[in-house]
């Protein structure tokens, strides 16, 4: 584990970085915003006007000057003559640039103490100014169209918004990537305990996150080995029970009392069925069986035939053939459990198979007591026996439906239980068609 700044450090770094970018961006933008955008052609026009006006004014007597000024004025450029001017405030920095542009165009004006002011900023950028003549009297002027301030304000706002949005996006992405291991952890934690073996999560991210992931991985491994030990112990007991069961069965054959012999025989069969279903349930997880094409319609019909041959009342109707990719033993056990369950609780079993473009549905219905609506989900959980609801037969460990549900899920299918309106339980097995299955 190489050193890494913590989660707090990461978030702080992100905040700092965004603040820094924001600071730089707004400094640059503010700097640009304060430089008024001067229309260069207008500046040149104003420069020529001013130099012309100053030349004309100085040659005329002061009495005529106001009239000349009026004549020199136009809509976009007003000139007035004043004998004296009150001391003016110092010029703002941006306008010195403009003054330099003017005097650069008309160098004569440099000797005339040209002053510029921005009037009513924000309302179209009215520039006013004054110019001293050789006899210490003044010309004042207004040039309304020298700068485009308003337009520039709008762009400025837009740009600030864009920068802010961009920054939020960057910050969001960075925080998200910082928190990604945490999210992975949450997903892994949600998956735990649902059966399948999990790979350890990659230990990346900040120190805190790494420690958390590491601890989680270790916990996962501990849980897994704990479960494994239990499963192996239980399976070993299951296997080992079979030899004494076989002895018991053979010994029982020596009993003279016919009734007692029958009863012991039944007990042995029941215990043996329990061991089988326990082993099937425990072995289901790492069952090495491979998927292969199986005609599941025939498989179902054959299971029904076997029940019928044993004297049960069962019939199959529907499609004759449907090839599906399944684990033959596991899937057959699932369907057999459902059919045997139905024949256990009902007098008759009705099995049907139908096919549509999405896949195949095998329905197993009985005319038994069904399951209370609020316990339908419980029925699929292991070791749950719905004795109260289903009454008469309490054989087995309550694993049959759990084994079936898991085997069907392993093939990408679903098992749905419901009560039939006419009474009895309906189990529907759906297998998606191979083209939908990935």
């Amino acid at each position: 584990m190489h050193p890494s700044i913590g989660l707090l450090g990461r978030v702080l770094a992100i905040v700092l970085l965004t603040i820094l970018i924001e600071f730089c961006a707004s400094t640059i933008l503010y700097d640009r915003a304060s430089k008024l955008r001067v229309r260069e052609d207008e500046v040149h026009r104003v420069a020529e006007h001013l130099s012309g006006a100053s030349r004309v004014m100085i040659q005329r007597p002061p009495a005529e000057r106001p009239a000349i000024a009026a004549r020199l004025s136009s809509k976009n450029f007003t000139v007035r003559w004043v004998p004296t001017l009150p001391p003016a405030p110092p010029m703002s920095a941006d306008l010195t640039v403009m003054r330099d542009q003017i005097t650069h165009w008309e160098p004569v004006l440099a000797q005339h103490d040209l002053r510029l002011y921005l009037k009513e900023p924000g309302r179209g950028g009215l520039v006013t100014g004054s110019l001293q003549l050789a006899d210490d009297s003044w010309i004042t002027f207004k040039a309304p169209q020298l700068v485009d301030e308003g337009k520039f304000r709008f762009t400025w706002i837009v740009m600030m918004v864009v920068v802010a949005l961009g920054l939020s996006l960057i910050a969001g992405l960075m925080v998200r990537s910082t928190l990604r291991p945490v999210r992975k952890l949450a997903q892994a934690a949600a998956r735990i305990g649902h059966g399948e073996r999990q790979e350890p999560i990659e230990e990346t991210g900040g120190v805190e996150v790494r420690e958390l992931v590491h601890a989680f991985n270790e916990m996962q491994a501990r849980i897994h080995s704990l479960i494994n030990d239990r499963v192996e112990a239980l399976a070993a007991v299951g296997h080992d029970l079979r030899t004494p069961l076989a002895r018991l069965q053979l010994r029982a054959e020596g009993i003279g009392d016919e009734g007692l012999r029958q009863e012991i025989g039944n007990d042995v069969m029941e215990m043996s069925a329990m061991v089988s279903s326990l082993l099937a349930y425990l072995g289901g997880e790492d069952d090495p069986e491979k998927q292969q094409p199986v005609d599941v319609a025939i498989m179902t019909a054959t299971l029904v035939d076997e029940i019928a041959d044993d004297g049960g009342r069962a019939e199959y109707e529907g499609i004759d053939h449907y090839d599906a990719l399944v684990r033959p033993v596991g899937f057959k056990r699932a369907i057999r459990n459902l059919i045997e369950n139905a024949s256990k609780y009902g007098e008759s079993v009705f099995v049907s198979g139908r096919e549509d473009e999405r896949g195949v549905t095998l329905s197993i219905a009985d005319d038994g007591p069904g399951i209370a609506e609020d316990r339908l989900q419980d029925a699929l959980r292991p070791f749950v026996r719905l004795d109260a609801a289903r009454g008469r037969n309490t054989k087995g460990l309550g694993l049959g439906l759990a084994i079936a549900a898991r085997a069907i899920e392993r093939e990408g299918g679903t098992l749905r239980l419901s009560n039939r309106p006419e009474g009895g339980l309906l189990a529907e097995v759906f297998l998606p068609s191979p083209s939908i299955q990935t």
């Binding site: 043996s272 072995g283 094409p293 199986v294 299971l303 041959d309």
Partner: protein, 236 residues
């Protein structure tokens, strides 16, 4: 006919004795063995007709033992196992075992299987079909050791025991008319999955299961006599 020699290989002494006693009561000549070396000793001493072999023996794996026996002789083998996993059953049968029993079992079942195997062994010798493993017809494949049928689309087609036995009887007598009574008799040679279903019901089920993509199953009814398997059978 002398009593058949049955060799029991089982590591649990009590169970070994129990099986031995019940088989003896039913007229078999039983030799018990508790381990693989004992088994080899007995096999070298006298001709054995059937071996009843426990899969889980100390020191040796029953599956390996089965393979070793097969290399030396084709004596019928019945596996007995505490494992009921279908996969083990298939592997055992693939390796050349003739049948498979899961613990616990009762004497009646064990004896029925031993008798069926002995009878089949004699029949196979009569028909010289001792080494039959696979048969093909119309794109279908029948694997005898696994008792498995695959369709022309290479999907596994599941049959009940009785249906499989009936199909086996047809495959043994292709393109020959077989009387109903003879079919019943032939189907009975394999016990274990026996059923009281009439041959006609089994035939109609078999026809339905062996139909494919509009193609009809190759079983023809010969009115008043019986049935005929009309497809050409190729054996491997």
């Amino acid at each position: 006919m002398t009593a058949p020699n049955v060799l029991i290989v089982e590591d649990d002494p009590a169970l070994r004795t129990l099986v031995m006693r019940s088989l003896q009561q039913n007229g078999f000549n039983v030799r018990p063995a508790g381990s693989a070396p004992e088994m080899w000793n007995i096999m070298s001493e006298l001709p054995v007709d059937v071996v009843v072999l426990d899969i889980m023996l100390p020191g040796t794996n029953g599956l390996d033992l089965c393979r070793q026996i097969r290399q030396k002789s084709d004596v019928p083998i019945i596996f007995v196992s505490a494992k009921s996993a279908e996969v083990d059953r298939v592997v055992g049968l693939e390796l050349g075992a003739d049948d498979y029993l899961t613990k616990p079992f009762d004497t009646r079942e064990l004896i029925a299987r031993i008798r069926a195997i002995l009878r089949r062994g004699r029949m196979d010798r009569q028909h010289e079909g001792g080494g039959r493993r696979e048969a093909h017809f119309d794109g279908w494949t029948v694997n005898f050791p696994r008792r498995e049928v695959t369709s022309p689309t290479s999907a596994v087609v599941d049959l009940t025991g009785a249906e499989f036995d009936l199909l086996s009887s047809f495959i043994d007598n292709p393109q020959r008319v077989i009387a109903r009574e003879r079919l019943i008799e032939l189907s009975r040679t394999r016990l274990g999955d026996s059923s009281d279903r009439s041959v006609d019901v089994l035939i109609s089920r078999l026809r339905r299961k062996l139909s494919h993509k509009g193609g009809k199953a190759p079983i023809v009814t010969v009115r008043g006599i019986g049935y005929m398997f009309s497809a050409e059978v190729e054996r491997v």
